[in-house]
Amino acid sequence: MQEETDNKEESLFEAPPIAEQERMCEAIMFASAEPVSVGEMEARMPHGCDAAEALVHLRKRYEGRGVRLVKVGDAWAMRTAPDLGFLMQKESFETRKLSRAAIETLAIISYHQPVTRAEIEEIRGVSVSRGTVDQLLELEWIRFGRRKMTPGRPVTFVVTQGFLDHFGLESARDLPGLKELRAAGLLENRLPPRIMPTSLDSDEDDAEDLQEGQSELFED
């Protein structure tokens, strides 16, 4: 330590400028298969170099960049910035059909919103699993609505804008009513559901099929 200053002054002559040393450290760290200690770096650099000093500069240079200088034990290495870790993932996508339970639950929410879990269960005739609701929440197709002003003040579910976007609806009111579903053959066994899309233009009379509760939501 005490000698360092002397050495430096002595060797300053031959040693490359600090900016050049910085470049060297940069290249060494980049190419090295493992973290490199200051000693090792200096051993590879021309005589008189001060790797520690160069590293201070280099570290500063990389502040806020996509990669940074990190100390690993007593060695140094370059690493990608932790906030960019997501770039190092190769995502593979798989599309799966929503389960029947989820679709039914979603359908009930869309037609009856705002609707409580108890109401969903009543309509479906089976209990609604937590996972199903969670999945729909995660898909951001439903969200929590206002609490019902009934005993227990249960939470309600409503569909989201994301839901409307996904299904190409302007509002939940655009969902065809039971009458149309029937006309489209969805409530009868015979007709192929292929005929569906034509009947999507909604008119007012589906209100009969929808339960009263939801209209408040769309009052805007």
Binding site: A33, F93, T95, K97, P193
Partner: protein, 262 residues
């Protein structure tokens, strides 16, 4: 290192010089073929390859091959073919053109040879330049600690509007909703026909038109009748195969008849 790569190419010139000095005592294997040898020889003319004297070159080559043949008997065929061709070229170049002879003139042939030599020479120089470039793993380097790509599998769930409405309809329909399947009430299946035939066949002691086996409810409506006829016929064939009945048809379009086999 760079010098190493050069060495190969540089050697040509060294060899060329040496050759000139040592009066063509050469290991033929040291050359990569006649063109290489010609190129080497031509380099001793120390002129632009385009202005090379092909005649003189041919002379040198023939000279060389002659001497080499004395020393090393097994001269490769390639070299001899080239020698023969150069001898021919030489004669074409020396003699006035024969108007009756077809094909390219001696000058054209000579020009092409000069082109070939120049091209080979150019490629060698290009190779040397290429090898002299800064090279990966020697002059510049890749990242020493590449970061592995993490593979993440993302599942997206989808549903269509139709799914949604079918789902809703399923719940709201009193009678059990079932997904659409083709209703085949106009179809008399092979299985049905077989079952029916198996029951009836024991009564067919004499030849009977298979039309009489059609179920009543399938005989009137032509669509249903067609289906039933086809299935009954297929079922009959099946029974023939099983060895339980015999089947016959006297003429085209005549009734198909069958009879129990005893």
């Amino acid at each position: 290192m760079a010098e190493d790569e050069f060495e190969d190419i540089g050697r040509i010139e060294n060899v060329a010089d040496r050759m000139a000095a040592e009066a063509l005592i050469i290991d033929v294997d040291g050359f990569e073929g006649p063109l290489d040898l010609l190129l080497t020889l031509s380099r001793t003319q120390k002129v632009d390859l385009r202005k090379i004297s092909v005649l003189q070159l041919a002379q040198q080559y023939l000279e060389f091959v002659k001497k080499a043949k004395q020393i090393r008997i097994e001269l490769a065929a390639d070299y001899l073919v080239m020698a023969a061709w150069l001898a021919y070229l030489k004669s074409r170049l020396l003699l006035p053109p024969d108007p009756t002879e077809e094909g390219p003139s001696g000058e054209e042939l000579a020009a092409h040879l000069a082109f070939q030599l120049e091209r080979l020479h150019a490629m060698r120089e290009a190779a040397a330049k290429l090898m002299a470039r800064d090279r990966l793993g020697r002059d510049f380097f890749v990242r020493g600690i590449p970061e592995d790509m993490e593979r993440v599998k993302r599942v997206t769930y989808t549903a269509t509007l139709l799914d949604l409405m079918q789902g809703y309809a399923r719940i709201r329909t009193r009678d059990d909703f079932r997904p659409y399947t083709m209703d085949r009430d106009a179809i008399f299946t092979l299985e049905q026909a077989l079952e029916r035939m198996r029951g009836l066949i024991s009564f067919a002691g004499t030849w009977t038109d298979i039309a009489s086996y059609l179920p009543d409810e399938f005989s009137a409506d032509p669509v249903r009748r067609r289906s039933a006829t086809a299935s009954t016929f297929a079922a009959s064939l099946e029974l023939v195969k099983e060895g339980r009945v015999e089947i016959r048809q006297n003429n085209a379009f005549a009734p198909i008849e069958l009879r129990r086999k005893d």
